[in-house]
């Protein structure tokens, strides 16, 4: 069985400051991990994915995530938040064709 825990349901940052969205996972296999973003009233868009190559993964819009097996974590970061980053973010684990989603983190960006 696999599971994902997003440690914060809401995160608020000021524009121009760093973003950290935390994710811990549990999986019986060597998993693939993803971060998806959902803007209001929109579908889900893939930000980045880890597939057992480099542990530091770069995604779109300046986001990156680091896979830490010893900590079973896959935290999402961005050096400088932009107003357009305000959205809900989902950490996802896959052991094949099945995805398991975390509960989501809503990121708010203050001007």
């Amino acid at each position: 069985a696999q599971s994902v825990t997003q440690l914060d349901s809401h995160v608020s940052v000021s524009e121009g400051t760093p973003v950290l969205l935390r994710c811990n996972y549990s999986s019986s296999y060597s998993p693939s991990l993803f971060w998806y973003v959902q803007h209001p009233n929109k579908g889900l868009q893939l930000l980045l994915k880890y597939t057992s190559a480099a542990t530091l993964v770069k995604g779109i819009n300046g986001f990156e995530a680091e896979f830490k097996k010893s900590e079973t974590s896959f935290h999402l970061t961005k050096p400088s938040a932009h107003m357009s980053d305000a959205a809900e973010y989902f950490c996802v684990v896959s052991d094949g064709n099945m995805l398991t989603f975390g509960g989501g983190t809503r990121l708010m960006v203050k001007p």
Binding site: P31, T51, F101
Partner: protein, 115 residues
């Protein structure tokens, strides 16, 4: 963007009525999925399909059935809608089995309200 459409995009119905949601893809992907999204739960898998007429249950399949008679279409049916099935429903597709590397592409969603 992956060619995935969902219809209808919004629907309001009454308890006890049947409802069918349609997912259509133009990517010729083998796998198709139905999820529901509820606050605090992320997305939860209802049913999925790994080929024409090949389907299986997901985490929250009770009260739902699916059919896939063509590669491009995956239908989700609520035989007798209940208020607990008020949700946003997303369809997703993915390519041939590449082990755990499969990325899923999501449709725009259908907002269903059961009164």
């Amino acid at each position: 963007d992956a060619g995935i459409t969902q219809s209808p995009r919004h629907k309001v119905t009454e308890t006890g009525t049947p409802v069918t949601l349609r997912c259509h893809q133009t990517e010729n992907h083998r796998y198709m999925y139905w999820y529901r999204q509820d606050p605090g739960h992320g997305l939860r898998l209802i049913h999925y399909s790994y080929g024409v007429k090949d389907t299986d249950k997901g985490e929250v399949s009770d009260g739902y059935s699916v059919s896939r008679s063509k590669t491009e279409d995956f239908l989700l049916t609520l035989e007798s809608a209940t208020s607990s099935q008020t949700s946003v429903y997303f369809c997703a597709i993915s390519d041939e089995d590449r082990g755990s590397y499969n990325e899923q592409f999501f449709g725009p969603g259908t907002r269903l309200t059961v009164l």
